[in-house]
Amino acid sequence: MLTHTNKKVSELAENMASETVSGRSLWQDAFHRFTRNKMAMAGLVVLGLIFLFALTGPFIAAWSYDDIDWAVMGNAAELGQPSFETGHYFGTDDLGRDLFARTVQGSQISLMVGIIGAFIAMVIGTLYGAIAGYYGGRLDNAMMRLVDILMSFPYMLFLIILLVIFGRSIFLIFVGIGIVSWLDMARIVRGQTLSIKHKEFVEAAIASGVRPMIIVLRHIVPNLLGIVVVYATLLVPQMILTESFISFLGLGVQEPQTSWGALISEGAGTMRYGTLWQLAFPLFFFIATLLSFFFVGDGLRDALDPKDR
């Protein structure tokens, strides 16, 4: 997925870089193309609804996500079914906690992990790649060799050890997942920087004595933004998937907070015991979100890449 994206994204970046002069119409064009892509638009709508669900859910829920319904506790299979009467719209978990409220809470966490993780990967990857690409020479060589080394690092092990060393916190999950995902981003950005850095506007900036770091930040990075955003959109679902694996290992967020991954892995374990809703609801939101991100990401890429019309 990633490498494939890389290739397309780099093509896209080439196209964009070559058309920076007529930037405005390119963006308008892209917008037009994007709105015509039905799947992508549907994805965008679904994403909107899911964000709305995550934000307004707490006001709709009849229970708080950490409250125990003592009447249901211990007999979720019979008493904890989804029902409007009890206020458990999505049923309850085994302890009698409201699954609607928990799904809302899980959505907030998972979306945050996905978006912040992708953002961190984007920031580190962009800066790293742009610096390596712009300065070139030995620095570039050393920096990219480091990326090569990190690429062969079994990153899941790395993440687990990090979570083990520093204890678990949402913050660390963001950072941990973000940190291991910036490598591809760095490579793409470096490649694009190489092609941009000999453009007239960069040479002009150099000639007028702007400091290199400022050139990277003011001139190079803004021109990479399109491709970076596309890539980041496609990175979000990867982040959410990674988080679900971490939760499956029991290294996810602390109770009573939860995430889609945690809810799904709990629900998947008890699939056969007559509490299927514990799997179905979180899984539905999980799949719907990932699909939408894929569609929107693909749509954005296609829209920004005129060749694919």
Binding site: W70, G167, G250, Q254
Partner: protein
Amino acid sequence: MKTLHKTLAATLVSASLMGASGMALAEDRHPETGEMLAEEQVFTYRALDESSSLDPQVVEDVDGSYIVRDLFEGLLNSDEEGNLVPGVAERYESNEDNTVWTFYLREDAKWSDGEPVTAQDFVYAWKRAVDPELASPYAWYMGLMSIENGEAIIAGDVDKSELGVEAIDDYTFRVNLSRSLTYFPQMVTHATTFPSPKWVIEEHGEEWTKPGNLVGNGAFVLTEHVINERLVRERNDLYWDNENNMMDKVVTLVINDENQALNRYDAGELDKTDVPAGQYPRLEKESPDEAHSIPQLCTYYYNFNNDVEPFDDARVRRALSYAIDRDVIVNNVMQGGQFPAYTFTPELTAGFTPPDVAFGEMTQAERDAKAKELLAEAGYGPNNPLDTTILYNTSEGHKKVAIAISAMWKQKLGVNATLENQEWKTFLSTRSDGNFEIARAGWCGDYNEASTFLDLMHSESGYNDANYVSEEYDAMSKEAQMMDDPSSVYTEMEELIAVDMPNAPIYHYTEVMMLKPYVKGWPFGDVQQNVQSKNLYIVEH
């Protein structure tokens, strides 16, 4: 679905019967009960994890100990009810003050390579267990047995040849203890005390426990061992009591996921598996002759860190302990037939009479009222709520208990307990470093006697994570060691800790399992669950 399972199981069985027809024992009956025996005497069960070792002196986990009990045999065994019965030793005696124990070994016991099992094999094994060079993690057990010089050898101060064990002759084994121990025979059913074959270990070194190399004196020999997948052991024809062993073959399957293990049990691939948390009531209703809940000598409890505020105040500790509704934990959270715990030592422990501790007698409403009162006395209330943290290790069961207890505290006392879940090893080091306020813990008896529980609260105990210090308690503990029948002192000790409440006992464990109804001979009455496959048999089904 139900009928499908049955027909599937039936086809599987008939297929295997056809395969085995050549060596059929035809029309076999159990000699005592007269039950028709199945032609195929194979028992397949699930193990949660690969065992740590098959070396009797090194093994440290429960599953591994079971395998070792099949491959080796110690001085004494336990029967279905957990009573001591002869193993390699036919009888034993002690001197008057219980400091010297002599075991008389049977002469017909053989190793699986035909060598006789002698007292020297025990001497070798016991010295091996304390040998710093072997560095067995279970060396501490030999220390617990108080064998002369045991501790000093482990510490490296004395040579292992000085251990207080001797072979009077080939079939007489004598142990000298450094203090009087009435329950010493109880302790020699443990795997660490099993004999080991010197010549085999010297020939193969570290490789000696691999199939083909391993020589044991148990009812079974190891025939196959694929790490993390399966272990097979088959009848040992040279075992001294082979004629009373009905079982031909025992298969261990390592299955990490408990739900998947239950699936495979239902598919007929396993004869025994564990019940996932919370599923016992359903399974008990659906198949009452397969679901079992067996009491164990284990206690689940929360440690209060007695060193830190506000848990240096016994009133706070008592308040929190009182407010835990143990019936809810047992009946609605764990749901595996566990017993609510109001004393630290399980009631089933041999020679222990639980005191009628005050808070155990109250109703939960009374306890809650008392808890509020105590907490208010200690200066906490609506205006000054108590904030604390519950530390537990990653596991579905611990998580559920912690969530339920924190909700109880919140609701009844207004205590805000944050949950902190750490991965196992991190949890252990945080807890033993004392970096916690409240931490979950579990303790299983090493032998069937109350001191294995009560020693834990001794101020000098290495396991006293609660950092409880009470001179009165220590004095009683010392007194108990001197007595022939210390049960009255044990009761007093429990009364004291019910007041001081260094930790909050929550429940006493049960082993909750599914066992196919055709597997007979399971030691349901043995609280230590020292299962030996030679006592199991499969009836026709």
